[in-house]
C-alpha cells in the first residue's frame, strides 16, 4: 500500500512483540457492533501517482486560466519563483508548529522576521504569526477589540457597509454567538465611502470599536483620519482593515488621525499567495503594544539560550487555547504558517522599493483599464473619489450577463456588485494588477465593446 513501509516480516515481528495474533486484534476495544459498518464501499480504488497526475493535469487545464480582471479580495500578483521553491522545501513544508523551539529555529526566526515586516508595513508595534484569512482575521479583530476596550461596557461594533460583503458575513457568523452587536454604517452611493456624518448618530454612545477599511471594497479611499479620530473621541477602538500591498503607497494605519489605529488586520494573499481558488491565504493582525495580551494567535519572541545566545520561541502562550483552554483569547491553533513563510520570502525579495513599484503598477494599470473601458459607449465610472487599484464601473446591461459572455471569451471581467449593492445598478468591480499588460487591457476592451454593441 502506498506510503506504508512494512514488510510481511516486519508485521510478524511487531505483532509478536505486542503479543497479538493479528492486526485486527489491535482494534478489539472498538465495540464489535460498530465495526461491521465501516467498509468504505464508496471510496474508489487507489490510483498510482501517474494516474492521479494525469487526472489533475486535465482538471487544472480544464479551468482555462482566463485573463483576470477580478479582485474583490484576491489579487493576481507576480510571485517570484524563489518564493515557493523555498517555502516548499521539506524543512518548512513538513514541520509542525514550532513547539520544540530548539528544533525549530528556522520557522521561529522566520516568523519573528515576518512579525517585524508586518508591524512595519502597518506601522503598529506588534504582529501575530497569522490567522486564517482576511475575513476571519477581521472577526478576531472585532472580538479582540471588544475584549481590549476597557473603557467600553458595550459590545457594539460599527461595521461600514463598504467592507467586503463576505467579510461582513464572516464576522457576523463568528461573533454573533457572543452577543456582539454589529452595526452597519451606510455609505455614500455617489462617492462610495463612509461619510463621517453617518457616524454622527452614534456619537456619544458606548461603542467598542469602529472598523475602517482602506481601501474599501470598492477600491475607494476612506477618510481614515476623520474616522479614526471619531472613534477615539468616542472611546471606541479603531480597527484598520487594509490591503498590505496598498500600504507601500498609502498611509499606514498607525498614522491615521491623531493617535492612529489600535488594531490592524487584513488579507495577506497579495504578499505571495497564488490565487488558488481562494486559499490558503492568511490573515494578519497587528496592534499597539498595550493590546498584545489580547491578541489571538501565535506570537514569536526573541530570547536567549543557556549560553546567552539569541534564539526564538513561541511566547505569550498563556493567551492560547493549549494553555488557557476555555479562557483563551481565541480557539485558533493551526494557522497559515506555510503561506506566511512564502510571504516573508516574498517581502524580502521585493523589498520596500519593489512593493512600492508593484502597488504603483497595479494602480496605474487599473487607471488605464478604467480609461479603456469607459471609452466604450454606455460604460461609465461610478464613485468619484480617490481609489486604489480597484474601481466600480456602470454597465448598460446587468453585470452578471456581461461577465458570462466575457467568460466565454476567457476573460474574467470583474465582480458583479448588483447582489450586494443593488442601489448601484449594473455595477461591476474591476481590477488590473501589475500582471496585466496593455495588450490584456486591449483584449478586455475589445470583447466588452463587442458584447455591449447595441
Amino acid at each position: 500500500m502506498p506510503f506504508i513501509p512494512h514488510t510481511e516480516d516486519d508485521i510478524r515481528q511487531m505483532l509478536a512483540a505486542i503479543g497479538a495474533s493479528g492486526i485486527e486484534d489491535l482494534f478489539d476495544e472498538i465495540p464489535p457492533e460498530l465495526r461491521a459498518e465501516a467498509a468504505l464501499e464508496n471510496i474508489p480504488d487507489g490510483m498510482s501517482e501517474m494516474d492521479i497526475a494525469r487526472l489533475m493535469t486535465e482538471r487544472a487545464e480544464q479551468d482555462g486560466r482566463p485573463l483576470c480582471f477580478a479582485g474583490a479580495g484576491a489579487y493576481d500578483h507576480h510571485i517570484p519563483a524563489a518564493v515557493w521553491e523555498i517555502a516548499t522545501r521539506g524543512e518548512f513544508y513538513s514541520s509542525y508548529t514550532p513547539y520544540q523551539a530548539e528544533a525549530s529555529q528556522g520557522t521561529l526566526q522566520l516568523l519573528y522576521e515576518y512579525q517585524t515586516m508586518m508591524a512595519s508595513l502597518t506601522g503598529m508595534d506588534v504582529s501575530n504569526a497569522s490567522l486564517y484569512d482576511g475575513a476571519s482575521a477581521l472577526a478576531e479583530a472585532v472580538l479582540m477589540a471588544v475584549r481590549a476596550n476597557r473603557k467600553s461596557q458595550s459590545k457594539r461594533v460599527l461595521l461600514p457597509s463598504t467592507v467586503h460583503p463576505v467579510y461582513r458575513k464572516v464576522v457576523h457568523a463568528i461573533v454573533r454567538t457572543q452577543n456582539i452587536e454589529l452595526i452597519e454604517l451606510a455609505y455614500c452611493a455617489e462617492c462610495g465611502h463612509t461619510v463621517p456624518e453617518a457616524l454622527e448618530k452614534y456619537s456619544g454612545q458606548d461603542i467598542a470599536a469602529l472598523v475602517i477599511p482602506q481601501p474599501n471594497f470598492f477600491g475607494v479611499l476612506e477618510e481614515v483620519d476623520a474616522l479614526t479620530d471619531w472613534a477615539h473621541r468616542n472611546g471606541a477602538l479603531a480597527i484598520g482593515l487594509v490591503n498590505p500591498v496598498s500600504l507601500a503607497l498609502l498611509a499606514p494605519p498607525s498614522t491615521w488621525g491623531e493617535k492612529g489605529a489600535d488594531i490592524v488586520c487584513g488579507e495577506g494573499q497579495p504578499l505571495g499567495a497564488p490565487l488558488s481558488s481562494g486559499g490558503p491565504y492568511f490573515g494578519f493582525l497587528c496592534c499597539k503594544q498595550e493590546h498584545v495580551r489580547q491578541m489571538p494567535g501565535r506570537i514569536v519572541g526573541r530570547t536567549v539560550d543557556l549560553d546567552g545566545k539569541p534564539g526564538f520561541t513561541l511566547t505569550l502562550q498563556a493567551r492560547e487555547q493549549h494553555i488557557r483552554r476555555s479562557k483563551a483569547t481565541s480557539n485558533i491553533c493551526t494557522n497559515q504558517g506555510l503561506v506566511v513563510t512564502a510571504a516573508t520570502i516574498h517581502m524580502s525579495l521585493l523589498g520596500p522599493d519593489g512593493l512600492e513599484r508593484v502597488a504603483g503598477a497595479c494602480h496605474a494599470n487599473t487607471l488605464a483599464l478604467i480609461d479603456k473601458l469607459t471609452a466604450i459607449p454606455g460604460v461609465t465610472k461610478l464613485l468619484d473619489r480617490p481609489l486604489f487599484h480597484e474601481a466600480v464601473l456602470q454597465l448598460p446591461r446587468p453585470a452578471g450577463e456581461v461577465l458570462r459572455e466575457l467568460a466565454a471569451q476567457r476573460v474574467l471581467g470583474g465582480y458583479d456588485l448588483s447582489e450586494d449593492y443593488p442601489e448601484l445598478g449594473h455595477a461591476l468591480l474591476i481590477c488590473a494588477t501589475e500582471t496585466r499588460t496593455v495588450d490584456d487591457i486591449e483584449i478586455y476592451a475589445n470583447h466588452l465593446r463587442r458584447i455591449l454593441k447595441p
Partner: protein
C-alpha cells in the same frame, strides 16, 4: 543573522518588480505613505541563501522521525504538493464563474463525498480552515439547531478533561459555558459523572475518540445515548481519524457532527504551523445548518451552494471556500490511497503505536494506561523518574532532539503527569521505531548515570535550551534597527 541585518539601503531586485515606477498623481497627499516600511533590502541571492539556511535549522518529517502525539506527522506525499500547485489550479481566481471552474469543483465534490463515506455522515462542508474552525462550525450548528427548535435553555457544553484545548476554547467562542467531565483510571469518560451532569441545560458534548489519551472510548454508544436522551447533541473532534479510518465511522457511533483535520489524517503538510483544513460532517438533522459554500452536482455540472440554497446556514467562515489548495492536496492523497489504502492507514498507524508502546514498556518506561490498546498514539509517563531521578518529561524531550528525533508531545493531556504523548504514524518503518526505542533506552540509562546530559540538553542544536520566561517577560516581538532600538 536576521534578514534585516543583511539589508542595505538602496539595494533592490529589479527583476522582481516593474521596471517603471508609476507616477501617482490622483491620490491626495494626505492618503499617502511618508516613510518606507522596514522591509529588507537584500539581493535575491541573499534572500534565497538566508531562507535556505534558516530552513535547515528545522526538524521536519522530511528530515527526522517526528513522533509528536496528536499531530500525525506522517509522510506528506510530494505528489500532493506538486499537483495542487499545477499552474491551472494556482491561477484560478476564487470568483471565476462555474463555467471556468468545473475541474476544480469536481475535485472538491469528490472530496466531500469521500469524507462523507469515511465519517458516515450525511453532509460535508469543506470550508473550515483548520480543526479549530471546524469545531467552531460544529458548535455553531449545534447552537443553530437548538435555536431553530426554540430550545434556548441549553447553555452548557460538556468537555472531558482530557480534551484538546481547542475544544473548551471553541465552546466559549460560541457563547457556551464549559463543564468538564473527568476521566476514569482506564482513560474512559467517567460515565457516572456524565450521567449526573447532563440535563436540560446541556447543548452537547465534545468528544475525541480515540481520545487524546490514546485510547478508544469503549462506552461511546452509551455516552451517545445518555447525551441524546438529555436532548444534547454529540460533537466528534475528528482531528485524528488515523486509527479508525475504515475501522469504525463516527456516524455509526451516534455523533451528530464532526470535524476532521485533513492536515493530519489526510496528510496535508503542517507547514511549520499551517495551513490546515477542518471540514465538517453532519448528520441528517444538522444538514440545513452547514457552513456555505458547499459543492453540489447537478448532472455533470458542479456549482457552489450559497445562502440562497441554504437559508438556515450558520453562514460563512472564510472569504471564499476555505483553504482550497489544502483541500486539493487532501483530494490527491485520498485518491492515491483509495479504499484499501485507507484501511491500511488505520491498521499500520495502530500497529506502529502498539509496537512502540510494547517495546518502550519492556524497556522500562511506564505507560499511562498499561492495560489498554494503543490507538494511533499512546502515553508514557515519567512521574516515577521525575520523583526518583529528578528528570522531567521535558528533559527527555530535549535529549531526544540531540539524538536526532523530534520530541513527542509533552505535558499534554494535562491530566497525566510528566507525560509524553507518542504517535509514530503508519509511514515510519520498523527500523526507525527500533532506533527510536534504542534512543529512549539510552536516555533512561543517562537519567541514572549522567542526568546532566538530560538536564542540559539539547547540546547539538543551533541553540541550547531557551529562556521562555525572559521571552514572556521582556517581550521582543519585532526587530528594531540599532539606531531606533
Amino acid at each position: 543573522m536576521l534578514i534585516f541585518e543583511h539589508s542595505h539601503p538602496g539595494r533592490r531586485n529589479p527583476s522582481q518588480a516593474p521596471a517603471d515606477k508609476a507616477a501617482i498623481n490622483d491620490i491626495p497627499e494626505k492618503f499617502r505613505r511618508k516613510q518606507r516600511p522596514l522591509l529588507p533590502e537584500v539581493s535575491e541571492l541573499q534572500a534565497v541563501r538566508h531562507y535556505t539556511r534558516l530552513s535547515q535549522k528545522n526538524f521536519s518529517i522530511d528530515t527526522h522521525f517526528y513522533p509528536l502525539g496528536s499531530c500525525t506527522m506522517k509522510y506528506n506525499p510530494r505528489a500532493c504538493n506538486r499537483l495542487a500547485m499545477l499552474p491551472g489550479f494556482l491561477a484560478r481566481h476564487p470568483h471565476a464563474p462555474a463555467e471556468l471552474s468545473q475541474g476544480f469543483l469536481a475535485c472538491m465534490y469528490e472530496l466531500q463525498e469521500m469524507l462523507k463515506e469515511v465519517t458516515g455522515m450525511k453532509g460535508v462542508s469543506l470550508t473550515p480552515m483548520a480543526g479549530a474552525q471546524g469545531e467552531f462550525a460544529g458548535m455553531a450548528m449545534i447552537r443553530a439547531y437548538h435555536e431553530a427548535r426554540g430550545d434556548s435553555r441549553r447553555t452548557e457544553i460538556l468537555v472531558p478533561d482530557a480534551a484538546h484545548g481547542t475544544n473548551p476554547a471553541t465552546a466559549v467562542m460560541c457563547g457556551y459555558t464549559v463543564r468538564e467531565i473527568p476521566t476514569d483510571a482506564q482513560g474512559d469518560v467517567d460515565i457516572e459523572v456524565l450521567k449526573n451532569t447532563v440535563g436540560p441545560q446541556t447543548a452537547g458534548i465534545m468528544l475525541t475518540n480515540p481520545s487524546t489519551l490514546g485510547v478508544f472510548e469503549r462506552r461511546i454508544v452509551e455516552i451517545a445515548r445518555i447525551v441524546h436522551e438529555a436532548g444534547g447533541l454529540l460533537y466528534y473532534d475528528g482531528a485524528n481519524l488515523n486509527a479508525i479510518l475504515g475501522k469504525v465511522k463516527p456516524g455509526d457511533m451516534g455523533f451528530d457532527v464532526i470535524h476532521m483535520n485533513l492536515h493530519k489524517t489526510f496528510s496535508t503538510p503542517h507547514g511549520g504551523g499551517g495551513p490546515g483544513a477542518g471540514p465538517v460532517g453532519v448528520s441528517e438533522r444538522l444538514l440545513p445548518f452547514m457552513p456555505v459554500p458547499v459543492v453540489d452536482r447537478d448532472g455533470k455540472t458542479y456549482r457552489l451552494l450559497t445562502e440562497k440554497d441554504r437559508p438556515q446556514t450558520i453562514g460563512r467562515l472564510s472569504a471564499f471556500m476555505g483553504n482550497a489548495g489544502v483541500l486539493l492536496r487532501a483530494y490527491v492523497y485520498a485518491r492515491l490511497l483509495g479504499r484499501e489504502g485507507m484501511h491500511r492507514v488505520a491498521e499500520f498507524a495502530t500497529l506502529n503505536a502498539n509496537y512502540l508502546m510494547a517495546r518502550l514498556a519492556q524497556s522500562g518506561f511506564d505507560l499511562a494506561f498499561p492495560q489498554r490498546r494503543a490507538t494511533h498514539e499512546f502515553i508514557v509517563t515519567l512521574k516515577r523518574q521525575a520523583k526518583e531521578l529528578n528528570v522531567s518529561a521535558m528533559d527527555v524531550a530535549k535529549r531526544l532532539l540531540d539524538l536526532g528525533y523530534h520530541a513527542p508531545t509533552t505535558y499534554f493531556p494535562l491530566l497525566v503527569p510528566e507525560c509524553l504523548l507518542i504517535e509514530p504514524s503508519e509511514t515510519e518503518a520498523k527500523e526507525e521505531l527500533d532506533r527510536f526505542i534504542a534512543a529512549m533506552r539510552q536516555i533512561l540509562d543517562e537519567a541514572q548515570t549522567a542526568p546532566q546530559q538530560l538536564k542540559a540538553a539539547p547540546h547539538t542544536l543551533p541553540v541550547r535550551r531557551l529562556d521562555d520566561v525572559k521571552a514572556a517577560r521582556e517581550l521582543d516581538l519585532t526587530w528594531k534597527p540599532a539606531a531606533v532600538a
